[in-house]
Amino acid sequence: MTSQADQQQHDTASMVDTAAINLRGVEKTFVAKNETFQAVQRLDLSIGEGEFFSLLGPSGCGKTTTLRMIAGFEEPTAGEILLHGQNMVGVPPYKRDVNTVFQSYALFPHMTVEQNVAFGLERKRIGKAEVRTRVGEMLEIVGLGERGSRRPQQLSGGQQQRVALARALVNRPSALLLDEPLAALDLKLRQAMQVELKRIQREVGITFVFVTHDQGEALTMSDRIVVMNAGLIEQVGNPQELYERPRTRFVAGFLGTSNIMEGKVTRYDDGVALIDAGADGRVLVPTDDAAVGDRITISVRPEKIVLSHDEPPAGDRECSVQGTVEEMVYLGTSNTYEVRLNGGETVTVLEQNGSTADATAVRGDKVWLSWRPQHSLHLVDSPSVEEGAADDAG
């Protein structure tokens, strides 16, 4: 765990030079009627130039507050926000070289689409002819070349979204901030816009900071993701890292489906812990941070588990447990099993429908579940402010 944290800190340090956005020890506390609420507790982040960076987390995790602090709508209670190395704390939004796409789009209803898109350029006192060309080009990029003279409310939700995007991007900001921009769209449109957003980002090459609570959206679109919970960072990484190596129970549960199991360490040597898992079970967990007698939490993804009727051969018995099939759901391309282990926990197993159709178990079958040790992921507790303070002291 410590090495991973070191690695992260190292990454952060090396990226400072090229970073578009840097957050250093950013905190935000809201005070309302004698009640204080810590929206963001201690945030250190570095977002690279041209990166598609997502802030992911459940509602109330502080991701939108973070975005609003970068935009300048909220001032941090403590810490620094650097845009291209310049501290932006105290600088009003209209002097910051970032633009926002709002969740509600916030299009000006009394202006046409063209007037909306031209608004930012006009504030910069750019010549009329250039404004017209740039607005036209931008509307072409978002596929609304024909709709310039319409009013926002005459457009569909997806089209309004594109106008909001065009209105922000036409200013060529050093970073584009997107606050759940796809949340109001229906599923099909949302998926189309995910592809579209990605295409536009490649085309314009601008840093995108994307706030979302939808893990699928974050995984498919982002170069890197920060998972936030209760105002703190749970983990930062690219989509593969977050999915394949979640550090905390929260990340494992928030991204995709995870089987969370707990067990007592009975042996620990050479960076591998053995935990007890019922009479015939054994589970190996690679970890740097365990001792005999510890109770540790692990996560195994459903698709990493192999289900069989027979006891796996000794060589494959590094991680294997026994259980009873409680439920089998046929999904066409795959089967999902709910297996109750002898220890009482329920495990979900995803099995691709390949050539071995006979491998299918049915309700009530006694089965063996096995997986490779590298797929047992040791989860640590979510970070807390106290822990952070202790780190500082040490």
Binding site: P92, L107, F119
Partner: protein
């Protein structure tokens, strides 16, 4: 052919047409009755502006004439009263739109200490009977030794118009997406520019409605004005004074013209609203 026609014959639209139940007529009859009830006095006022009345009393219709329109400003006292009323109404409207608009924006958009009491004062002002406002204002002016006249009428009118503007603007601001202003600032607009380019156009319907209300309230106010007018005479005060002797038909004509002015304003604001929606 037959297959397409068969369902149409049994469709509900076709079946309803031949004979309507009597209950169908309840709503239209009721609606027209209410409209008539509301408009009849106005029709009478307009009609008697064309009455070729011979005596002092303009009560029975004696024939059609346009002479009252020609002699509209023949009565000096009435003309002066109308001028007083119109100038007071215009000034009171302008001032209360400015002050009440700002108040409405504060109440609709921001949270601040004392917002609750302020809101209460605004509503209490609307709810308080005019008689109370008029007499208490009179005792205030008396105790401060302020001579009653044009200025005190104006102050009184501004006072009772402000809450109406504040309330209409507040409703409009509360319905606005708060991120509109943020979006404007995000795109490089200073707070002043954001207000001029975004907020002001957005609250304009509220301001216009407030202005219309203010003008209408001010021009025909009698109760508060009568307590605080001193020697100054406004249109309603003059009409009231004249009513004992018989109201000249010019009053009907002036009423008709004021009514038409209001009608044009209302029609314009409806048209403007409709144009915006397209």
């Amino acid at each position: 052919m037959t297959t397409t026609e068969a369902p149409r014959a049994t469709s509900p639209v076709a079946r309803r047409k031949p004979k309507r139940k009597w209950t169908y007529y309840i709503l239209p009859v009721y609606t027209w009755a209410v409209l008539l009830f509301l408009c009849l006095p106005i029709f009478v006022m307009i009609l008697f502006g064309f009455n070729d009345t011979k005596g002092r009393y303009n009560i029975t219709f004696q024939g059609f004439t346009l002479k009252w329109y020609k002699e509209l400003f023949a009565i000096d006292g009435l003309t002066n009263a109308l001028i007083n009323s119109l100038t007071i109404a215009v000034i009171a409207t302008v001032v209360s739109v400015a002050v009440g608009g700002a108040l409405g924006m504060a109440l609709g958009r921001y949270r601040f200490r004392g917002k609750g009491p302020l809101s209460l004062v605004v509503f209490a002002q609307i709810a308080t009977p005019e008689l109370v406002l008029g007499t208490s204002l009179l005792s205030l002016f008396l105790s401060l030794n302020i001579p009653r006249g044009y200025t005190t009428i104006l102050l009184a009118h501004i006072m009772f118009c402000i809450p109406f503007v504040a309330v209409t603007v507040q409703a409009r601001v509360a319905g606005l997406d708060g991120s509109l202003k943020e979006a404007a600032m995000d795109l490089g607009a200073t707070p002043v520019v954001a207000f001029r380019k975004i907020t002001l156009p957005m609250i304009m319907p509220g301001l216009l409605a407030g202005a219309l209300l203010s003008f209408a309230l001010s021009i025909d106010d009698f109760v508060t004005t009568s307590f605080n007018a001193g020697q100054t005479v406004t249109f309603p005060l003059w009409v009231y004074g004249a009513s004992r002797l018989g109201i000249p038909a010019q009053v009907n004509v002036m009423g008709t013209l004021i009514f038409l002015f209001g009608l044009i304003l209302a029609g314009y604001s409806i048209l403007a609203g409709r144009r915006k929606k397209d």
